[in-house]
Subunit: 283 residues, 2 copies
Amino acid sequence: MFLDGQAQGPQDGLLEPLTRITARGWLVPIGGCMQSPEILTRFIDLCGGVDARIVVIPTASNEPDHRSYYERIFAPFQQRSLEVLPVATRADAADPTLLAHIAAASGVFFTGGNQLKLATVLGGTPMAELLRARFAAGMTIGGTSAGAAFLSDHMIAFGEEGKAPRTAMVTTVAGLGLTKRYIIDQHFRQRDRLGRLVTAIAYNPIMIGLGVDEDTAAFISPDEETIHVVGTGAVTVVDPAELDTSAILEALPGTHLELPGMVVHVVDAGSVYEFEERGAAAK
Amino acid sequence: MFLDGQAQGPQDGLLEPLTRITARGWLVPIGGCMQSPEILTRFIDLCGGVDARIVVIPTASNEPDHRSYYERIFAPFQQRSLEVLPVATRADAADPTLLAHIAAASGVFFTGGNQLKLATVLGGTPMAELLRARFAAGMTIGGTSAGAAFLSDHMIAFGEEGKAPRTAMVTTVAGLGLTKRYIIDQHFRQRDRLGRLVTAIAYNPIMIGLGVDEDTAAFISPDEETIHVVGTGAVTVVDPAELDTSAILEALPGTHLELPGMVVHVVDAGSVYEFEERGAAAK
């Protein structure tokens, strides 16, 4: 594994404006512990600014007090419409009244908690299908922590900490399926999760890993070609495009993995990762 | 879990002819230990009959003698063109000469072995991309045993035996990604794999499980709506559409899972499973 450690400093105020595109929506995984107002400002902007109709899905959490918490979080942004949907069961995820809110939304935000709760409650329901259809038609969808992990097709359900990839240190299951290209991890450097993200990719190097730090968001463009990093941390990009061999099949359980050619970029807030160039540039 | 045990007897000779459709290709997972000539007859027929240009990908296997074995297997069917491609490394899966064979093929067949070898050698390579593009354009793709497991988006990499679903009894990773609707298991009733297939679906009930018996093939139509079962065994369909709750998050490691509303159909060879009607009929 090759560590491309050239961290680039934040370039506050130099980010290109995020433009809206009519095809798919923007996808906005956030690494948890959101503090920077810039993250929600940009998210709401992509949802229509003051006219944004945001729906919060708090299913991942066990906290009873979502509504007032998320009303307080979104309050400073002068955006007029916010609904926190009570989706706790698979029956809720088929309730026409709740579905109508999503049909009318311009943006959806998943809270943190446990991503397996999102997968087991929403997976295969009419609500998941509607979310996928609205996203395909241009709606912005974001989420923090567990809500970020759930967004991708292959989702990291749980795993062990540590920098070194080892067999059996990570469990992946199906997620919401809004991106096949990227697999998302969160609380990334704070919880020392490089090993589990690299291991997830070693099983099938079809995906690019995005390890999103706390208080940091990866704004993934509708064509998936560029990722704007916003907040105070970085997004760690794990890229297997030049991987020579994935030795996960031969490795004994729990041993370290040899993965020659796996490339890791650390893309700091204020920079943009360009998929085609396989690199980051301050903009 | 509700077991719909109404097994239907084989109705040899009563299968509807499989017609070719110009959109996606037919997808043909086979459960291993292929004996019935009818399976390869129908597979080759979908690939163009005597004009079929079949490419065999033996990557899953460690056997050195693929070529003569598969030449012998395909010999009785009077089909004129067969290539067994030597794809053993990720570099092979980017080799233009080998890619040209796939570009010219009318059907591709994956041998058995270990499906993680397929995922680690082919995942994210130009060959995997080409296979996905050709399948989307109508090419027939099949595989037996490990080669069947690899076909779906979410692939069962390995797991434990037993009928009762338990937490942590199965590991799923990314597969080739030719179907998102179905997740495929193989050697199904012979190796007592109902538990691991149900558990894989319990993590995210977005997928329908197909447990394919030995000497049995599931011919999945290009629109994914019908599955023709051919051979001597059955396809066990695990359907979470009416699942009330997936308790996998609350269950302690290794304990049995409560999954009220999970439906299991056993669809015998000679019958056709209709997705829309969620049931099977002898045809």
